[in-house]
Symmetry: D3
Subunit: 184 residues, 6 copies
Amino acid sequence: MAAAMIGRFQPFHLGHLELVRQILNENDEIIILIGSSQANYTVKNPFTAGERIWMIRDSLIESKIDMSKVFMINATDDENNARWFSNIRSSTPPFKILYTGNNFVRTLLKKETIIIKKPRLLEENLLKGSVIRKLILENNSKWQDLVSESVKKVFREIAAVERIRSIHQAWMDSPFSEPKKYAE
Amino acid sequence: MAAAMIGRFQPFHLGHLELVRQILNENDEIIILIGSSQANYTVKNPFTAGERIWMIRDSLIESKIDMSKVFMINATDDENNARWFSNIRSSTPPFKILYTGNNFVRTLLKKETIIIKKPRLLEENLLKGSVIRKLILENNSKWQDLVSESVKKVFREIAAVERIRSIHQAWMDSPFSEPKKYAE
Amino acid sequence: MAAAMIGRFQPFHLGHLELVRQILNENDEIIILIGSSQANYTVKNPFTAGERIWMIRDSLIESKIDMSKVFMINATDDENNARWFSNIRSSTPPFKILYTGNNFVRTLLKKETIIIKKPRLLEENLLKGSVIRKLILENNSKWQDLVSESVKKVFREIAAVERIRSIHQAWMDSPFSEPKKYAE
Amino acid sequence: MAAAMIGRFQPFHLGHLELVRQILNENDEIIILIGSSQANYTVKNPFTAGERIWMIRDSLIESKIDMSKVFMINATDDENNARWFSNIRSSTPPFKILYTGNNFVRTLLKKETIIIKKPRLLEENLLKGSVIRKLILENNSKWQDLVSESVKKVFREIAAVERIRSIHQAWMDSPFSEPKKYAE
Amino acid sequence: MAAAMIGRFQPFHLGHLELVRQILNENDEIIILIGSSQANYTVKNPFTAGERIWMIRDSLIESKIDMSKVFMINATDDENNARWFSNIRSSTPPFKILYTGNNFVRTLLKKETIIIKKPRLLEENLLKGSVIRKLILENNSKWQDLVSESVKKVFREIAAVERIRSIHQAWMDSPFSEPKKYAE
Amino acid sequence: MAAAMIGRFQPFHLGHLELVRQILNENDEIIILIGSSQANYTVKNPFTAGERIWMIRDSLIESKIDMSKVFMINATDDENNARWFSNIRSSTPPFKILYTGNNFVRTLLKKETIIIKKPRLLEENLLKGSVIRKLILENNSKWQDLVSESVKKVFREIAAVERIRSIHQAWMDSPFSEPKKYAE
């Protein structure tokens, strides 16, 4: 039986990896949903969906996870949240369990035929994409302890640190909005 | 002759109901436009368009309003505001008057062939969807005085209070954005 | 308990009206879904969603149907048919039964929690929007026997016959596509 | 006062050019609307909006037309035709006259505050984008007499003849649909 | 180095499987792009993107293909074909080679930095999704020789044969359009 | 050879004009991209794309700039920034140089075949659309020194000052969001 997890993976970190392991221990297969897949080069979503899939796949192989049990699937946002899960269903193989600690998702999916399970989390406060992006902006190398070697390798290939900074800089020039491409 | 009013109805409250009465006193028919109909399960738009239509219809019947004089029609947002009214026109029967106290709408519709009338409002500061949602979050039962019995009944059927809280909680975890469905 | 029916209503005809009556005989309330609501001024969809709602409402009142039991709600198309019903759910009050004679809809909704009922139909072959539009194009006045007095009245107010013809003419000039607004 | 014309310009031909001249004789300025601007590399729309603007601009300069009197503006399609003109209004400077021989556009714009004028056309049947594309497919060099030298120059730079043929070929392999990018 | 192939996989058949093998023989990794991923329950696209991924994955495992070398990624259509490849790039890990026999794709990608390679094909005329769907409609069991055991297993789980037939039937009732969900 | 610049032009000001002059000194032609063209009647985007084109054209003519060397083209936003430039390419004639001082754009376009040049800017802090809109809101007439006579003339024709104020007022009533059209 397959189970799913969902994240934006900006970037994929060791907490995500731990959850993948937990799910594969308890289920036959895992469907990893890449949320906000339509967004990239923004403050909250610096990486493209393709780059995130790349980081995830390489991290899982680094961790010796059996890729024949893993699906990675892009999921776009939908302001009509009531139809969001139905959209997910249409783009994935069938699954019966969703791992999420988010009460809002629980509320949203109350009428759907899906079992919600709570993930075991380790060091929840540190292991967040937003924390990692903040450490990078503060030039604090501790972020390197929070991601896999594979993520660090992809970071070098796509100049990820420089990208996070230049997006942030564009945003600082215009603090109330997403990074602007346009001259005022 | 038909006249229109527009709101997001998150939720429909006694101020809205009073405006419906005023419009039906002064016109043959009313078109109630449900704004931001595409959004739901968000902080500012917790209810689906269908749930809002349900609350409105039941409130109007509770108030003995003749439903043969009422249209309820969904209206999506459009960042191209200059074409928004034309979109509304295409989804409603013809109407000649729009009731709104909003100067911006007045500006927006300056070139359109529509008469704008100002609604008489009662207790404007209290009777707002945002006030009702805030009272609910503060556990202040006064919100119950601001909506009809029918709205309270729908609230129980859809667990509306719990929904408003869980959306707010998800938002608090991520204060700069809409409630997030995704693990960071 | 509410039940739903769905059509494009191009235009609303006596077969549709009969189905409304059947549904209200067997259920407390009816939700009339106006399909392809985003399309208008095309060969298959000459009327706007608003004009269709107008025709339906006036026809129902003409037939003394109690409008406090009727919802009329616009439904846009979705190439992702697997999520189409979920979209409908988000824009309507809850309903448990859908009346449709269409096997495809039956297949599409197999996994949804909805009861499908078959409509009793009278003179199925004649009572079709496509037949009515064809009769109009052929200048055959029999179409007038297939719609209510109210529909004929709306037709006069919006010059519907002329519209169907001018759309058809534009289409004939370019037989492989929808009516064209653009010079070749 | 400004007047507008609209076409898909696949490609811009001498008939279009003649209409530009007529409009500038009778008005101060012209707004040239490039229809179906969102489509390209399809059977009916082989050229991008940018390539079409390029052909138009160079043809007008070749004809010594004063470019300070010309606007060229992209216009996307809209299945909601009732709001299409409002969308055009939002993307162009104001204009009072639209030149079109199309009865459908006349019907569509009946409620809008716009004067419709009929273009004088020369050799209407030959001077059509579809005819030019057909001549190219038939290897008939007569198409070269129907467009300006500038269009022929752009054609060479973008390998337009080869493009029209390869799109057609992809379409022939799958006659009921637009050219397919996907293996069956 | 990664290479890509693209198809709609309605359904995934032995010709597709052969191409996967060829690509993995000549490259380190394969990116399988599921085209028209937004469409489902239509005549040309009966299966959802998720069902297609399911068929592909199970077929590859059945063929003992190493899943750590395979990406399967959904790709939506875009009428703006000139930006379609850029959209693909944003949703996949980097790749340098695309396998396609389609001249149109070759034309479309002329300006992109990508190497196009021609697939070796076996029994091209028989091995097509359209042929398989036709055989099913004709009740000809030969289609079973054209797909893997895994595809046949998924077909049984989702009642695929029945689905293809009911979509076709809905389409036959309305031969000029996609299957209709709406009563005329 | 053509070069491009991009701005939102809310409104077009003397800094923009200076950059146009610089680009035309150093290149044969200029492509002026109107960013966020889909947005209007919002706090950050009060003017429609058409009004912005109108201001630009009249300002350039006022400055005796040769309009046969100028393209003005609308560019919509795209949350998928990785495909944004490809979309621009499809809607413009070819260009080889982009003038921008924005490091983020530089990062975004790193893989594209385009030369980025830095504009010479005069009084950068004052010459910004946001500054001009702020001066207008503060009733400070200094904004009139920052735009051309032509812009001031268009401002009078469209009642721009009043519009900026009424949008701001609507926004002040709801400080966390864009101006609202809907009653709460």
